[in-house]
């Protein structure tokens, strides 16, 4: 169709079903059990904490997927999906048993994959790094009063005394008294975690947002590879033997 003959109504109908994002989202197998038609009753919106404060609507999420409304889907993919608090109040009360929260989760995965999440994940580097290099995703030393001044003045006292407090609390509980990670997961465990991310393709996805992190992880894995793969080999043999 030439530029002059383009009709906004036709355009909308042409892109109504089967736009790129719509197709990608529909590939996720969770969608089938998360979307069963929509009564447009608004129960989800009434219960949604994000809808109370942001220009965000779980009803719109379901409707745009039912209609294949690529324009609105794109609007969501480019930012609105990050408003959802993942509280599942929508799923819990929907009379059709839809789950806007799960649809949003599928959309977030795709947003990361397609390089649309850089802004949303701007504050996220440290947690991603912790997960992939420590095996758990928080550390006592992350929660400093500088990062969270709105948590009150007591944070200052807690932050400065945390080492002695933890030592006292976890007397007799090895591995729990650490400050640079949640608990002292073994190196072998961290390697297994990294391997899972690698094998499942999740590490590659991380690379679209934090490319340097992938290098760190791969270096980390390479350093330990021989020792850890030997351990895994031992495990595999034991498993085979137990099956006989």
């Amino acid at each position: 169709m030439s530029e002059e003959n383009k009709n906004p109504v036709t355009e909308k109908i042409e892109s109504a079903k089967g736009g790129h994002f719509y197709k990608e989202i529909m590939k996720d197998f969770r969608i089938k059990e998360s979307l069963h038609g929509c009564l447009n009753c608004g129960t989800c919106v009434a219960n949604c904490p994000a809808a109370a404060f942001y220009d965000y609507s779980p009803r719109e999420v379901c409707q745009m997927m039912i209609e294949g409304d690529e324009e609105t889907i794109e609007e969501y993919m480019k930012g609105k999906i990050w408003n959802c608090a993942q509280c599942y109040s929508c799923k819990y009360r929907c009379p059709k048993e839809n789950s806007a929260a799960d649809i949003v989760m599928a959309m977030r995965e795709i947003a990361v994959r397609e390089g649309l999440a850089a802004e949303a994940l701007a504050g996220y580097t440290r947690i991603a790094k912790l997960v992939l290099t420590r095996g758990n995703q928080l550390a006592p030393d992350m929660l400093s009063p500088d990062a969270f001044p709105d948590w009150g003045p007591r944070m200052i006292e807690l932050s400065s005394k945390k080492m002695e407090m933890r030592e006292e609390l976890f007397k007799g509980f090895p591995g729990m008294n650490v400050v640079d990670r949640a608990w002292a997961a073994e190196d072998y465990t961290i390697y297994e975690m990294q391997k899972i991310w690698e094998e499942s393709g999740a590490l590659e996805k991380v690379g679209t947002v934090f490319p340097f992190l992938v290098d760190i992880v791969q270096d980390d894995m390479d350093d330990k590879k021989d020792e850890m793969e030997a351990k895994i080999q031992e495990k595999k043999e034991k498993l085979e033997a137990s099956k006989k």
Partner: protein
Amino acid sequence: MSYEINDVKTGINHAKGMNYHAHDIRAEMQKLEEEGEIKIGHIIGPYKEEEVMYGIKKKVPLDMHYQHKSCGQCANLPGVPRSNFYYRDKLGIKYYNDMQQTSCTAWNYHASGLGNLVQLASVAARNWHRAYEEGYNFTIHCVTSFGNYLEMRHLLVGNKELRDSVKKVLAKLGRELVIPEEIVHDSEIAYALRDKILAAADPKRLEGIKGLRAVEHYGCHFFKQVSDDIIGGKRPIVVGGLASHLGVQMEEYSKWFMCCGFGFRHILVNREFTRSAQNIKLKAIKQEVDPDMILVNCTGCGTTFDKTQWIQKAVGEDYHYPVVFYSQLAALALGAHPFKEAGLNFHVTPVEPLLDKMGIAYS
């Protein structure tokens, strides 16, 4: 016009008789085990049956507990895992604090979308396998983990493709797919053990607890993500149920259902949301109950309630409700030192006034 509410007593209040809907995932799991598709990590040792939705019975293991820890609790509220160990030590329950446990990564997943279902399910299956190979029952400290593991179980049981992908990943680690017979949260275990906790409690401590007024708050991922396998049914009862068993007077407030505002990402990067949601919750709690404490079972909620009261001064409102986890309450009842063993000194909202009311020394 002033308002009157009939109090809801803590008790089983799920939808009875709607059996047209009820399906039990355990039956599906058994079928898969018979077909050789999965292995089930059967419960070891004694268990107690408690009712979930539609009257279906959930087996709560009472011993040999694998402790699946919470990143958020260990980092920020370490009194909770400590209390979880404490009440088990007092009751003579054997447990295994695994240093080969990984984070479930669900907080990261829900907050950032980094990761994918195969990764999430494989991490779940790997932790399940750890409990299995050590010979322990899988029990969970964190509510985010709990909701995640319920969801992973549901997806793995329902999806051959996902199962096959996960098995492939696990094979590369020398592991196999073992799904625990029951996915149980620690607050469900403490509830199932309520008689034993009461029996072993310090009478002086119970005197101090008796008559305290509290409200309860459940993590969204405890009961909203997957609703049909929670003790109590559609409306959970485990926190208030344990507390009232120990003598606490539980009271209702109209906003019990509302999310605390943690949001997984919001508490880090969108804090006005968390503060605004908290404002609504705290206002209702103050206007309708004004309790001695807020009882919780969720890492995120505990963090949010504890850390977001002070900032409400910015809108001219003053809140100082001590936030106490169900297991910290149990630990206190059993005689724990409030700081050295229940870790309440790690909470930002002052707990000292509450400890004074309870007659517990803390200096």
